[in-house]
């Protein structure tokens, strides 16, 4: 019921102030898109909203919610509308022909026997009985699928494992963990999300783990809030890799070698606005000797989205958002853009791989774990 959605997300309290639209990255380029107007129209003409293809354009970056004086949870509002719209057979336009959605749905199969651990090099230590679990997520698939833009997503996994080993953690890595379901959930497919979550929880229980370490902010946010939300008690401690590091770095337990260069940092929405982790990544970057860290104009709470989410509705406006963000990063004078979410990295790399991308805006895009792992081994 759309009335329930309006109530639940406090959309009734919308003051029509338009702050959301003012900060919305989509609205910045797509004149047709306005969170304020969508809320307003939904309240007045409930029935029409599910047919509105604009609900699939929202990036759910939470910028609007962050600014809303009435605490209207717009992205939750959008998500719930998507659930209802999907019930009526509507969906967004899947990128890559829907391949990634298919991968996620395939993983709902109960007796899957994945071969996803080939990436673990012999020098990386894992164990079968650790209370720690490293949840790799989609990285093996991304690494393959985005090999054409040289995303090398598995570098993130290898780096994470390397760092964990350094912290004397030899985590379990499960051969049959599933996709966390984040993207299905945000594109309104609750049914398959729940299936994935159940499979995952069963796998976790079977492995007997207590702490789950993630290198992906989406999985982190998802385990932290959505799993308990949809499946009740979630008896595992969820840790993002960035939460483990600052102490160890400042205490000198992990030694780093100097790296020269000027870098800037892209706050992933799931880590920043969703999970309030703003300082840890910055501390990590700053702990690397020789690094000059500069902030972009819009950073932290105001950080701009990378342009696409949930592998759908990647539009012309997505590209414009990415170009805008890359321009902003470049304008800081940095030559490297550090991301902390494999998807941000993929999106920025993809934008740069496209024809007509201006040479002067070329930037190195690297995940923070990889960046840190490259700096390991200092005196």
């Amino acid at each position: 019921m759309i009335k329930d959605i309006i109530k639940k997300t406090k959309a009734y309290y919308c003051l029509d102030c338009g702050k959301c639209t003012a900060v919305c990255p989509v609205a910045l380029f797509d004149g047709d898109f306005s969170p304020r107007r969508i809320v307003g129209e939904t309240i007045t003409r409930e029935d029409k909203v599910l047919d509105d293809c604009r609900i699939w354009n929202c990036l759910t970056c939470k910028m609007c919610h962050e600014r809303c004086p009435s605490d209207v949870n717009f992205i939750e509002f959008i998500r719930l509308l998507r659930v209802d719209a999907r019930g009526e057979g509507k969906e967004g336009i899947c990128s890559h022909g829907g391949a990634i959605q298919s991968l996620m749905k395939i993983m709902t199969a109960p007796n899957l026997n994945q071969k996803r651990l080939d990436w673990i090099r012999p020098d990386l230590k894992t164990s079968k009985d650790s209370e720690y679990l490293y949840f790799v997520g989609c990285l093996p698939y991304f690494d393959l699928f985005f090999s054409n833009i040289k995303a090398n997503s598995l570098d993130i996994a290898r780096s994470t494992l390397k760092i964990l080993n350094l912290l004397r953690i030899e985590p379990q890595v499960l051969p049959n963990e599933r996709c966390c379901g984040h993207d299905l959930l945000w594109s309104g497919d609750v049914e398959n999300f729940k299936k994935l979550a159940q499979h995952n929880i069963a796998e976790f229980k079977k492995a007997g783990v207590k702490k789950i370490v993630l290198s992906c902010p989406e999985g982190y946010a998802c385990f932290k809030s959505e799993y308990p939300n949809y499946l009740g008690k979630f008896d595992f401690e969820v840790v993002h890799i960035s939460e483990l590091l600052p102490d160890k770095l400042s205490s000198g337990e992990i030694k780093l070698k100097p790296v020269k260069g000027k870098v800037t940092y892209q706050d992933p929405c799931r880590l920043g606005r969703f999970s309030n982790i703003y300082d840890n990544p910055r501390e990590i970057i700053n702990s690397i000797p020789g690094i000059e860290f500069v902030e972009m104009k819009r950073s932290g709470k105001n950080a701009m989205c990378c342009g696409t989410s949930s592998w759908m509705n990647c539009t012309q406006y997505s590209k414009q958002i990415q170009l805008e963000r890359l321009k902003e990063a470049k304008s800081t004078g940095a030559e490297t853009l550090i991301t902390f979410c494999p998807k941000c990295q993929i999106h920025f790399l993809c934008a740069q791989s496209e024809i007509n991308y201006p040479e002067e805006l070329k930037l190195k895009v690297i995940d923070l774990t990889t960046f840190l792992a490259n700096a390991l081994g200092g005196e």
């Binding site: 797509d30 336009i93 899947c94 990128s95 890559h96 022909g97 829907g98 509705n313 990647c314 539009t315 012309q316 406006y317 997505s318 590209k319 414009q320 170009l323 993809c350 791989s353 496209e354 024809i355 007509n356 201006p358």
Partner: protein, 660 residues
């Protein structure tokens, strides 16, 4: 369109591809022009007239010959139903279609034409055609071109059937008939003259000789009786058919002084004008209705009257008067026209007490004819109508006896030449299918489908142009000879007359583009193979593979009827509009990544700048061939294939994977 596949194809998934992939573009004439519909033989009238306008007389003749192997004959004696349906009549008078046909036929005669080579025999089967009239000749022409062996049996010492025996040479010179028959025999058709099938050679004998199919086209050569008193009592009575046959065989003896011809058809007028030419003093025609109802061609009646034939309209014979065993005259009664009968013509009613007498020594009844069935054995099993004509299946022209087909006047009773030609075509098609062991019933003839002519012609603003009249032989010259009366158009006249054609519809169907395209890119084809095989298809479709689709979208589609049986074995039909599969870009979705531009082998995709630093790809659908590689490579889903969307493929997958 989609539903059809998911719900109905339980056993096998079959995809109805829009047949018009954009490799092919069509010029489609959905309805043939009214003149073509009116023509029993379906001649492409508008097309050959268009070619005459262009001065392409040979091409025009070739086109006519596709549907009518006897253009010179038809150009003279056809009743030209096409002219009655001509849209030009709404402006002034119809185009002189018939005379134009004659013009091109004569044009060819005037120059020396290389004689045709015999057609190579492909199949062993032989076909016997009984009767060498227009039906038999047309059928022989069609079958020999299909590679069969064809033998035509003719009872008379000359070929042509009623054309030669019944039509006087002042209307149809013998050399025209001979030339056109020669064109057919040149292809390898054997005509055996003076052989009476059934008497000289039996059907059993022919079967033993290897004839696999028979076409009975013996015509209707037996005159009907008048059924008036005195008819059988006196000398001086000659049946019209016999009279004309004798004259046409060279017997130019004067039959008598005063001649009465009874009837109002073309043969009655022929008999009267022939009698005048033989030197008879007075020739009367007695017809029971008025001139308006007279079935003979108007120009024939006019010419007969000019030559001196006296026509008594609204008069009927009552009894024959005789003296000394010879005809002396005929008592007639005046008639008036009553209510229309079942044929739509007003029924003549006698006016009591209006009897009058016409003196004469010869009476030529020409009321109607029936087939002369004396060639059939007494115990034959053919189903006949009450008029002694052969009863056949109206679609296949098959008689009740397997392997025997009948057509022409022998089947329909006295009829026109062009109808006989049409029958010849239909029977040839049926015999072909019969010999190939295909279902005869699947034949459809365009003439059996009543098609409404849907094209709206704009005649407003058309200026009247006087119809061109061909010159005629002077009256003086006519009466002592059998020289041809109607003379031919000159080239200038023909072109001027052809220009009067309104060219109903956009394409004149002349097929010159097919012949003219050096790269052989233009093809003429019919939508269904099956249809092409079994009969003419009214639609005319030209496939032009390279022609860019500059037409508006709605003009590009083609309709196709698909039929299937549902679970209850019920026949269902659905008309689908098929459009080519082409790809298009959703502009909002496109990121302008440029991948599609690289994979498009046809350079249909270009990147168009939309904003500073931003490009969007654009597909020129006139170039796109619909291969879908760009759809496969598009990361955002901005490129979609018309009629072949992702959703559709997904549903196809579902439907074929969920069936048990």
């Amino acid at each position: 369109m989609y539903r059809l596949e998911t719900t109905l194809k339980k056993e096998k998934i079959k995809l109805f591809f829009p047949r018009l992939s954009s490799d092919v573009h069509t010029i489609s004439r959905l309805e043939p022009s009214s003149c073509r519909v009116a023509c029993p033989a379906g001649i492409q009238v508008k097309a050959y007239i268009g070619l005459i306008v262009a001065g392409k007389f040979q091409e025009a003749l070739d086109l006519i010959k596709k549907d009518n192997p006897l253009p010179g004959i038809c150009g003279r004696v056809c009743t030209h139903p096409c002219e009655s349906e001509c849209n030009r009549r709404k402006v002034d008078e119809s185009v002189a279609i018939c005379a134009l046909k004659r013009f091109v036929a004569d044009w060819e005669l005037k120059k020396s034409v290389k004689r045709a080579e015999p057609i190579a025999r492909i199949s062993d089967e032989k076909i016997a055609i009984v009767g060498s009239g227009p039906a038999g000749l047309t059928c022989a022409n069609d079958l020999i071109r299909l590679g069969y062996g064809v033998t035509v049996f003719e009872k008379l010492p000359f070929a042509g059937g009623m054309l030669t025996a019944g039509i006087p040479s002042y209307r149809l010179p013998r050399e025209i008939i001979n030339k056109e028959i020669e064109n057919i025999t040149d292809l390898g058709v054997e005509i055996r003259l003076g052989v009476k099938v059934g008497k000289d050679v039996g059907f059993d004998e022919l079967m033993e000789q290897g004839f696999k199919a028979f076409f009975i086209a013996v015509g209707a050569h037996q005159g009907l009786k008048l059924n008036v008193p005195g008819e059988n009592d006196y000398q001086g009575f000659i049946d019209c058919v016999d009279f004309l046959r004798n004259v046409n065989s060279g017997d130019h003896k004067k039959p008598g002084r005063k001649v009465i011809v009874i009837g109002g058809g073309n043969s009655a007028i022929d008999a009267s004008r022939t009698a005048l030419r033989l030197g008879c003093d007075e020739v009367f025609v007695v017809y029971r209705r008025s001139r308006k109802e007279m079935p003979a061609n108007v120009s024939e009646i006019e010419e007969a009257e000019k030559e001196g034939v006296k026509i008594h309209y609204l008069a009927a014979p009552v009894k024959i008067l005789g003296k000394k065993g010879k005809v002396a005259g005929m008592e007639c009664i005046k008639m008036r026209l009553g209510e229309p009968d079942e044929s739509g013509r007003r029924k003549p009613v006698p006016l009591e007490g209006s009897e009058f007498v016409i003196e004469a020594d010869v009476i030529i009844p020409s009321i109607s004819q029936k087939p002369d069935l004396s060639f059939l054995p007494k115990d034959h099993e053919f189903k006949l109508s009450k008029w002694d004509t052969f009863e056949v299946d109206p679609v296949t022209f098959a008689t009740n006896i397997q392997g025997f087909f009948a057509g022409g006047d022998a089947m329909s009773g006295p009829n026109t030449v062009v109808d006989a030609i049409a029958h010849g075509h239909f029977v040839a098609r049926s015999i072909n299918r019969y010999l190939k062991h295909k279902d005869l019933k699947k034949i459809t003839h365009s003439s059996s489908e009543v098609r409404e002519w849907g094209f709206r012609l704009e005649i407003e603003g058309e200026k009247p142009i006087e119809r061109n009249h061909f010159p005629k032989l002077s009256i003086e010259k006519r009466l002592n000879s059998f020289e041809e009366v109607d003379l031919c158009f000159t080239e200038e006249q023909a072109i001027a007359e052809a220009k009067r054609c309104l060219r109903c519809g956009p394409c004149v169907e002349c097929q010159e583009c097919v012949a003219g395209c050096s790269k052989r890119l233009v093809m003429l084809s019919f939508p269904h193979k099956e249809a092409q095989e079994i009969g003419r298809v009214p639609e005319f479709i030209l496939r032009v593979p390279t022609d860019p689709m500059k037409l508006p979208r709605d003009k590009r589609s083609e309709e196709v009827v698909i039929s299937w049986r549902d679970e209850e074995e019920k026949e269902n039909q659905l008309t689908l509009a098929l459009e080519p599969i082409t790809c298009f870009v959703d502009k909002d979705m496109c990121r302008g990544c440029g991948k599609c531009e690289k994979v498009c082998e046809y350079k249909a995709i270009t990147l168009k700048p939309v904003k500073e630093g931003l490009v969007v790809s654009e597909i020129d659908e006139s170039i796109c061939k619909g291969c879908g590689t760009c759809v496969a490579i598009c990361t955002t889903g901005a490129i979609k294939a018309r009629h072949f969307t992702d959703k559709r493929i997904e549903q196809m997958l579902e439907s074929c994977l969920n069936q048990e």
